[in-house]
Symmetry: C2
Subunit: 231 residues, 2 copies
């Protein structure tokens, strides 16, 4: 496997990262990895108190010092240089609409998978805008919206025994600087490559593929991810 | 990377394989690999003469003897134990409707990617049934429809310099025996693992992900595929 080099110019050292919906498993998992990589991370939640509790728990779980702070979602949106959206699909649109002001001018990274579950397992939900990422782009016209981190297992991110995470993160978006920045952020997770994965209009299938990976998990009792071959 | 073992019981030795749309690049590429693995392969085309020409060309290109024969699509549908659908999306429904009789009782493997292209690149087309595979299942109620081989590059399949193909084939379907059979078929291509990828209702995103892989190909000048990690 060769390296997919992110541009040397994409130095994200010192950039702060906010995670909206940061008290969920996915949000905490990403926050943990970015904090371990040296970033100041703001966990956002509807309740600043809950966010603070989750942030303290993350800090206390590590043997080395990490900087994770809890805020309400609006304060977290305002605080971070790069803002990850890891909220449940239910309420996604409403939350982002309410944060359009603080998110203006920022790189927003949507990692939401609009999925349903029934007795036959997971399936992709129909999204009027095409995908969660396109919905984010529609309600955040002043932000630079990208999509990434859809397939990263929260269990793996949170597992202290997993030092290197064996998957690639597909990063989608219209803006080259923004997708390069998010690729560099993905590569802060040891083992991960950030791979450009196309325009936002092709985000639906990346989000929906999570349903297939859940089917793989169930069949093979694993935490599946994907690697892009040929790179 | 550990092996995903297909069941020992899934022995497909001696099974014949038909490829509808077998004169296209993808069809010829798959036919070549299955013929090299020892299967008799029937190439189907609208014109038996064109199919015969493509079959002869495949046989003549190999230094070892391979058994590839050209037929019209209806005769190919009747001849193969396993029938791969590699036709263009345009005309997919009509062709399969016309072949419902000869395809009854067989395992059908749909590998069609309904994609559009414009100046911004590739994108997934809207399919009324959800996906090409679900459309096949709808018009072939007497067949056992699976979906697979969406991401395999025809260039790679046809390249005599590529001995081992570095990707996994996601196999989707409702019937365990059928998906195990198609997984075993995928593994006839050296280097490939056949991985169960979920139910047919989750086929759309696997088909559509081809648009993202094309975006990867353009950005990184490669022939991208995917591997499932965690197996």
């Amino acid at each position: 496997m060769t390296e997919v080099s992110t541009p040397e110019s994409t130095d994200i050292t010192g950039r702060t990262v906010s995670v909206l919906g940061g008290t969920g498993d996915q949000g905490r998992g990403l926050a943990r990895r970015f904090a371990l990589a040296g970033h100041t991370v703001y966990l956002g939640s509807r309740s600043a108190e809950r966010a603070d509790g989750a942030a303290r728990a993350l800090v206390e779980a590590e043997s080395s010092p990490v900087d994770v702070r809890g805020l309400d979602n609006a304060a977290a949106a305002a605080a971070g240089d790069i803002v990850i959206v890891a909220v449940p699909w239910e309420g996604h649109r409403e939350l982002l609409e309410s944060l359009a002001g603080p998110l203006a001018g920022k790189i927003v990274v949507d990692c939401v998978n609009p999925l349903g579950f029934d007795k036959r397992g997971p399936f992709a939900l129909d999204v009027p805008e095409g995908s969660a990422a396109e919905q984010a782009a529609a309600v955040l016209p002043e932000s630079t919206v990208t999509a990434a981190f859809h397939h990263v297992s929260a269990v793996v991110l949170l597992d202290p025994a997993v030092e290197s995470v064996d998957l690639d993160v597909l990063v989608l978006g219209e803006d080259r600087d923004a997708t390069d920045t998010v690729r560099a952020l993905a590569e802060r997770i040891p083992g991960v490559r950030g791979v450009f994965g196309g325009r936002l209009r092709n985000a639906h299938q990346v989000e929906a593929l999570t349903a297939n990976l859940i089917a793989v998990n169930r069949r093979y009792k694993t935490h599946a991810g994907i690697r892009v071959t040929g790179l």
